[in-house]
């Protein structure tokens, strides 16, 4: 049946009670509907054991669907249409025998007599099942007939008016211009109207002027910031990784992506596609890949001993649950452990759906890989500029004169004739802590046997065998791979064949090994160094630092070290190298090393595993391009005409490197290559260690099929969410947008459109909006919102009249505009904006405005709250650094979330702690200071916040307070001075500081008015 038929008539309670007393009267009552009336009762009392969950199902009886045609006789006897008295269901729910009674008395459930009457009536009327309304695609309804078309500015109003008519209600008169203006600007931008906006609109509040203002607001940058905050709740955005350690994470580029998306009015289908699967789009841009950080907002657990797979799975499950919650308004989470009790999602289907999300590379690693370099616009510009310069310099550098070619050829021949590095065969190799060191034929030293935590290898070489009499300039250390080492090495530890060379020292020794003198080392280079473990740290004298090579384990690596002074070693004397390896954990020791020596200048030497001279020795016809380039690079560095340009180039490249280091690296989604595809299994009882059947990616049956033309990946999921057969995506989104303007959704449970959720108050309007959003608006959020705010329904007054209070106490039928408390961020932003303090900088890293001392004291983290002293103190609320385990207290007090999981809507509370924030939090004292300083009178402060002028009685009351406080400060000038300091009003030249202090007190009262913190 269509939604239009599924009319939601009020079920007259009085009628039900009447039915109780005389069942024969039931023919005359309103008919009951399965979806609306019966199913919720069954869901509450019966479906846990007689629902969709096969494993939990008792007596093979399922009550949420009509019995199959081939059902056994017992099942068929449960409900006998039109014959409640012959139906076993009725017998059971009314039985006095505790052994027969359903639900079983020990279940904690029992049906009320009223509920039993409903079930009975439903069976009497034929026991018709209907599909749950939200699983049927929306149909475009016709505009209904209404009592007064002149009230209707656009189709929304027809649907609203129809329900008002049906409930014998009339709409409220239009809101006063000042109220409407403040409402509109707060709703669209989260900021109060500017003085200009107020002046203009109060002068001309015609429909044309209103629409012009709407367009202006939709185009203002504040729009994107305000709506981004709404979306960030859904994206579980935060600036830290969560769990115990809760280390920082760079995610703000994603936050800025969301702001841009709203400001540019990126259509919602594109927003969906890019966030869920931007990386899988053809030729994905950096911005499209950045969008996928949406699903990297899942938490990462850095605690010791945790199983990465456990928390990877937790993240993947969170992605599944969040996707389904945000786009389809369904809760799927419970199907992790067992089939959904109420909605048609079995546990197997859950894991099939999860298989789409199971293929990304991320795996709960501390470094949050994979990450993407995501430069800001400014950084991209600077980078392009530098690259242009580099290209220009490089052109000058790449001279190709005949002189150059000749000189280079001569140099290569020389190199080939005289290998730069000569291997040495050690005469001794010993370990301090018990590693067994074996000298091999190729001159390398292999470690085996005992694997101590730390060690020092001493390797003695005879340089005479390599360089004869020429002075020694440098030493090369090759960390080699070997089949006996885990993953080939070069380290010795199975899980991590990395090594840490903490310190390398060289000494001259006599034939018997007695030390003669130290030979200090000056410079070093390596073919590769781990981040923060640069090779120079192996000769810095600090044993807690060193050279390491992760993540390039499994490959050989080379480091070269310059002797501070070239030294000739007389025959008979030797060199002893001490390779000190002091990393405290995991036995990060070298598995195989070889020492070579050189007599060349250090500048001409390469740290490549294959030295320059070896490359030079390769016949020209056999050299690879890479090898040719290495030779060319090396020679250009010493050829006089190019050497100076090389320095210029090196400096530019250094600047690029510095800039690159500043570019935020944002975690993104990236699929593993097909050969590394993961296999997905059902997790028995949700336990990641207990694998059930293997499953392939597939949608839950109730939700149709993905297009077969698409590969089975996240992109297919996105396309399916957006397909016109999807009954939920558009409805869920329009409902969410509606709720931000009308206080609650047409479906109040924004998070649950399933069978447990609430039913739409205006089903036809919901469908009409969903279809308009998808078709007419082409998923444009701005176009959609414009339609909402242009309606007469939106422009009503919010005054609660006696009649609307009596007939529509909860404002379900929109007989007035709703009043509701502003969000945490808007309360803050409004105060700062009205006071003139608000910084209008958009985007960038998150900021730390003042918060009380000692809030950040989480375990095992060095993260510090460094209170901003510049404009970052007064940025919009969405830029406040959000630490998951310790969110900004004043935001939490006003019901903002912690970003740990997706928050579909914020429940509004009204607590004494909120009063303490707006009375005493320094942000609000400073705002009061700003307001008092920038507005000359109480009246003008009032207007700044509330647009309207104060009524006489209000003004009188404020003036009375003004006199009281003035007297107080007169008696205690120090108090006035203290308050000015608290409010950061420090200019000594300000005249009449006491009057200013009084105004600050008044400003604080204004900031705390119920009207101020409420959307009017």
């Amino acid at each position: 049946m269509s939604l239009m038929q599924c009319d939601f008539r009020p079920l007259a309670i009085a009628g039900v009670i009447f039915l109780l007393t005389d069942l024969s009267e039931c023919q005359g009552a309103e008919p009951v509907f399965f979806t609306k009336d019966v199913r919720p009762l069954l869901a509450r009392h019966c479906l846990a054991c007689h629902g969709a969950d096969e494993d939990a199902r008792q007596a093979d009886l399922r009550l949420d669907l009509p019995p199959a045609p081939d059902a056994n006789s017992e099942t068929a006897a449960a409900i006998v249409p039109r014959h409640p008295d012959r139906s076993e269901l009725i017998n059971r729910i009314t039985s006095a025998d505790p052994d027969r009674r359903m639900p079983p008395p020990d279940s904690g459930h029992s049906m009320t007599p009223e509920e039993i009457v409903v079930v009975r009536q439903w069976i009497a009327e034929g026991a018709h099942y209907e599909t749950h309304w939200a699983f049927e695609p929306p149909q475009r309804p016709d505009l209904p007939a209404v009592s007064d078309e002149t009230w209707c500015r656009n189709p929304i109003d027809f649907f609203v008016r129809q329900q008002l008519d049906a409930h014998t209600l009339t709409p409220s008169p239009p809101a006063e211009p000042a109220v409407l203006l403040r409402r509109l600007v707060l709703d669209l931008t989260g900021l109060p109207p500017s003085e200009t906006q107020a002046a203009e609109f109060l002068k001309d509040h015609s429909d044309e002027s209103y629409e012009r203002l709407v367009d202006e607001l939709l185009a203002s940058p504040g729009f994107g910031e305000h709506w981004a905050r709404m979306w960030l709740d859904l994206a579980r955005y935060a600036d830290t990784k969560g769990y115990e350690k809760d280390q920082p994470r760079t995610m703000w580029r994603y936050r800025d992506w969301v702001i841009d998306a709203f400001n540019q009015d990126m259509p919602f289908d594109q927003m969906t596609r890019e966030q869920i699967a931007g990386d899988l789009l053809p030729d994905a841009t950096v911005n499209q890949q950045l969008a996928t950080a949406y699903h990297r907002n899942t938490m990462t657990n850095d605690e010791g001993g945790t199983d990465n797979e456990e928390f990877r799975m937790a993240a993947v499950k969170d992605r599944v649950d969040t996707t389904v919650q945000v786009w389809m308004g369904l809760t799927m989470g419970c199907a992790k452990c067992h089939s959904h009790k109420y909605d048609p999602i079995s546990q197997r289907e859950y894991y099939r759906f999860l298989a789409y999300f199971d293929q990304t590379e991320d795996e709960d690693r501390p470094d949050d890989a994979p990450k993407l370099s995501t430069p800001t616009t400014e950084q991209s510009r600077r980078l392009a500029e530098l690259n242009t310069q580099i290209a220009e310099v490089r052109q000058r550098y790449q001279v190709s004169t005949p002189e150059y070619a000749t000189a280079k050829q001569a140099w290569i021949s020389e190199q080939a004739r005289q290998p730069a590095w000569r291997p040495t065969t050690p005469v001794a190799a010993t370990s301090e802590n018990g590693s067994v060191l074996t000298i091999r034929k190729d001159g390398s030293v292999l470690a085996s046997g005992e694997r101590p935590a730390t060690d020092v290898y001493s390797i003695t070489i005879d340089p005479q065998s390599a360089v004869k009499d020429s002075p020694l300039t440098a030493i090369r250390l090759e960390a080699m791979t070997h089949p006996s080492l885990p993953r080939g090495g070069p380290g010795r530890t199975k899980n991590d064949p990395n090594f840490v060379l903490s310190e390398l020292t060289v000494e001259e020794v006599d034939h018997d090994g007695n030390p003669i003198r130290q030979l200090p080392l000056a410079n070093s280079r390596a073919d590769f160094s781990q981040n923060n473990w640069e090779v120079q740290k192996a000769i810095d004298g600090d044993p807690s630092t060193g050279w390491a090579i992760s993540p390039q384990q499994g490959q050989p690596h080379t480091a070269i070290f310059q002797l501070q002074k070239a030294v000739a070693i007389p025959p008979g004397l030797r060199l002893r190298l001490k390779l000190s390896q002091q990393y405290p954990a995991n036995s990060l020791l070298l598995g195989c090393v070889r020492i070579s020596v050189s007599d060349r200048t250090f500048e001409s030497l390469s740290a490549d595993p294959l030295g320059l001279s070896e490359i030079a020795a390769v016949p020209e016809s056999e050299r690879s391009d890479e090898q040719n380039k290495q030779l060319d690079d090396a020679f250009r560095r010493i050829f006089p005409q190019t050497a100076t340009i090389w320095n210029e180039l090196a400096e530019l490249e250094e600047r690029v490197k510095t800039l690159n280091a500043e570019i935020p690296q944002t975690p993104v989604m990236k699929d593993r290559p097909p050969e590394k595809a993961r296999t997905t299994y059902v997790h028995v009882r949700g336990n990641f260690l207990e694998h059930g059947d293997r499953v392939q990616p597939q949608l839950p049956e109730a939700f149709g099929q993905v297009s077969e033309e698409l590969p089975a990946n996240r992109l297919a999921v996105a396309e399916w969410l957006l397909s016109k057969d999807n009954p939920l995506t558009a409805r869920v989104m329009v409902n969410r947008l509606w709720a931000r303007f009308f206080g609650r959704g047409l479906v109040e449970t924004e998070e649950d459109f399933g069978q447990q959720g609430s039913l739409p108050t205006h089903p036809a309007l919901l469908d009409w909006l969903a279809i308009e959003f998808r078709t007419t608006d082409q998923w444009s959020i701005k176009r959609f919102l414009k339609r909402l705010v242009l309606s007469s329904a939106y422009r009503q007054s919010s005054v609660v009249t006696d009649s609307s209070r009596q007939l529509d106490p909860e404002n379900r039928w929109l007989s007035r505009s709703p009043r509701f408390r502003l969000s945490a961020e808007v309360i803050r932003d409004q105060a700062l904006a009205a006071s003139g303090l608000l910084s209008r900088r958009i985007g960038g890293p998150s900021v730390m405005p003042p918060q009380p001392d000692g809030i950040w004291k989480a375990t095992y983290s060095s993260l510090k709250w460094e209170t901003a002293e510049n404009e970052d103190r007064w940025r919009r609320g969405l830029y406040t650094f959000l630490r998951r385990t310790s969110p900004y207290p004043s935001m939490i007090t006003f019901d903002a979330g912690s970003g740990e999981v997706c928050q579909i809507r914020r429940i509004r509370t009204n607590t004494p702690l909120q009063a303490l924030v707006t009375l005493n939090d320094p942000v609000y004292i400073e705002a009061a200071g700003g307001l008092a300083r920038s507005a000359a009178s109480v009246e003008s402060m009032f207007r700044r916040l509330l647009v309207r002028a104060p009524r006489d009685e209000e003004l009188q009351r404020l003036q009375q307070l003004q006199q009281q406080v003035a007297a107080e400060f007169q008696a205690s000038p120090q108090s006035a001075a203290d308050l000015l300091t608290e409010a950061r009003v420090t200019e000594p030249e300000l005249a009449d500081r006491q009057a200013l202090a009084v105004r600050i007190v008044l400003a604080s009262v204004l900031l705390n008015l119920d009207e101020t913190v409420t959307r009017p």
Binding site: V800, R805, P852, R908, L913, E968, D978, L980
Partner: protein, 507 residues
């Protein structure tokens, strides 16, 4: 009549009404006031949903929960295992390692005998370690549970499971559940108060006292030991109490005008909340001021008014263990003062019990005795003081960590026993907690572990059992006590019926 009951009730109902598809008009408001007035005498506070789970058989009125964050070693405090001596410094038998995951232990660790002397104490002859001399003297008040077990072996999830019923974030704390279920008995103070010591908040952070899906009015209010006890409680400098009163009077009048004009009952609620905030500004510092206690009471706890721990701002955790930091003792005394004032649930967290042996600051041989000294007199003083004031019968006191510690020494750092580096890893399979007061059978020990304290011998007490027992003692049916959210009837004891009230420990 208790105004705060009504306020809580109103809050809850408003929340439920809002979230179930209704708002609140002035008429509805009036009717709530009336109905709550009528039921006041028999059913104070709480919401209708919670009310349905009342059993009418409450033994305890309030709870003081002393959580030792990091998890103390039961083998050095309560679970005497002489048999462990014979395995000391020998490799752990393989049967105890197979299929087990540890936080830090790798390979085959060696067994570690209890490091301190045990003796029997009191009429009940409880085995208690020499580290707790003061507690030993009052041990007859407590019931020691030697067989508590959990299925989480990392701090944050284990703490969350214990206190919120789920190892994940986002569920209400036990204190939130209980205040939601029973309301509060003081109109000027929050019903659920959290006090932390040890220099850091516990691993799972503030989620441990969040209200999850329950209305936020039930979230735990952390009273801090330095600065404002409640955030933003103090008026800014320059605002005297007179000025504050005058501003609130003006605010009330202006809000009343607004109410007359717009007619939204939420405005009246806001007026009420500003008045409660004003009262809290006086009541909270008062109740938090332990310098009002006589000398002999301070001494009983080992409390030091005005103490500000140097460790509070220290980054190096080792600093925390130096000296006899009285913060925990101060918090115990505060707990009594709060319970006395009708606060429903006082939750203490003491950080610094994670004794892996990775440094002298985290070791059983050096740190545990210091931590034990910090709590021993305080805990004994609390039990004594509650008893002498007649509060112990109505106050349930609970002590314990989020899991236990292994009978093996931890071997990832050092293989040999070395002073300052003796430690044990996390052990979820069996550990000790104790309970005292409100409905608990005093002077008992419950459950046995095996001869080395690895597994449970008899009478296991799971986290679910513990939760069920606590609710039961407060007069709440743990099975019916549920809150509908996201399609499920959520309960503190979780979705299954695994949790059973431990009948054997009830008085």
């Amino acid at each position: 009549m208790n105004l705060h009951f009504q306020r809580l009730q109103l809050q809850t109902r408003r929340h439920l009404l809002q979230s179930s598809g209704t708002g609140l008009g002035a008429i509805a408001l009036a009717s709530l006031m009336n109905s709550s007035r009528g039921e006041e005498s028999s059913m104070p506070g709480a919401s209708d949903v919670a009310r349905a789970a009342r059993t009418g058989m409450a033994k305890a009125r309030s709870v003081i929960y002393l959580h030792m964050a990091g998890s103390p070693s039961q083998l050095e405090l309560f679970d005497y295992k002489p048999a462990l001596e014979k395995f000391h410094n020998k490799e752990c038998p393989q049967e105890y390692l197979e299929g087990k995951r540890f936080a830090f232990i790798r390979g085959v660790p060696k067994m570690l005998a209890g490091q301190f002397r045990f003796a029997q104490h009191g009429d009940a002859g409880q085995w208690i370690s020499e580290l707790l001399p003061e507690f030993s003297k009052v041990s007859d008040a407590a019931c020691v549970l030697r067989t508590v077990n959990t299925d989480q072996f990392n701090h944050a999830p284990a703490q969350l499971l214990l206190h919120t019923g789920q190892p994940r974030l986002g569920n209400p704390a036990m204190g939130s559940w209980v205040t939601w279920g029973l309301g509060s008995e003081n109109q000027d103070l929050p019903g659920f108060v959290v006090l932390a010591s040890g220099g850091k908040t516990p691993s799972a952070g503030k989620s441990l006292w969040g209200s999850g899906f329950l209305p936020t009015i039930y979230q735990g209010v952390q009273c801090r030991t330095t600065g404002d006890p409640v955030l933003h409680l103090s008026d800014p400098k320059g605002i005297s109490r007179t000025t504050r009163r005058q501003t609130l009077d003006a605010l009330r009048d202006l809000n009343e005008m607004q109410f007359q004009y717009v007619g939204d009952p939420e405005t009246q609620t806001r007026i009420g909340q500003y008045e409660l905030a004003f009262r809290m500004q006086t009541a909270v510092p008062e109740v938090m001021d332990i310098s009002r206690e006589p000398e002999h009471i301070l001494k009983l706890y080992g409390a030091v008014p005005g103490f500000s721990s140097a460790a509070e701002s220290a980054d190096d955790p080792r600093v925390l263990y130096k000296g006899d930091d009285p913060t925990f003792a101060n918090n115990c005394l505060l707990a009594r003062r709060l319970v006395e004032q009708g606060v429903r649930f006082v939750q203490l967290y003491d950080w610094g019990w994670d004794h892996h042996g990775s440094s002298p600051g985290e070791s059983i041989d050096e740190t545990l005795p210091i931590k034990a000294r910090q709590i021993d007199r305080a805990v004994a003083g609390l039990l004594t003081d509650l008893r002498q004031r007649g509060l112990l019968d109505s106050t349930l006191v609970i002590w314990g960590g989020e899991f236990g510690r292994t009978p093996m020494m931890q071997n990832n750092v050092r293989d040999t026993l070395q002073k300052g580096f003796i430690g044990r890893d996390h052990h979820p399979y069996a550990y000790t907690m104790w309970m005292a007061g409100g409905g608990i059978k005093p002077g008992t020990a419950w459950g046995q572990t095996d001869e080395i304290g690895y597994y449970i011998g008899e009478n296991p007490v799971g986290v679910r059992d513990l939760q069920a027992t606590i609710l039961h003692l407060l007069g709440i049916d743990p099975y019916r006590f549920s809150f509908p959210w996201q399609g499920l009837d959520n309960r503190l004891i979780g979705p299954t019926s695994d949790g059973k009230v431990v009948q054997g420990i009830l008085a």
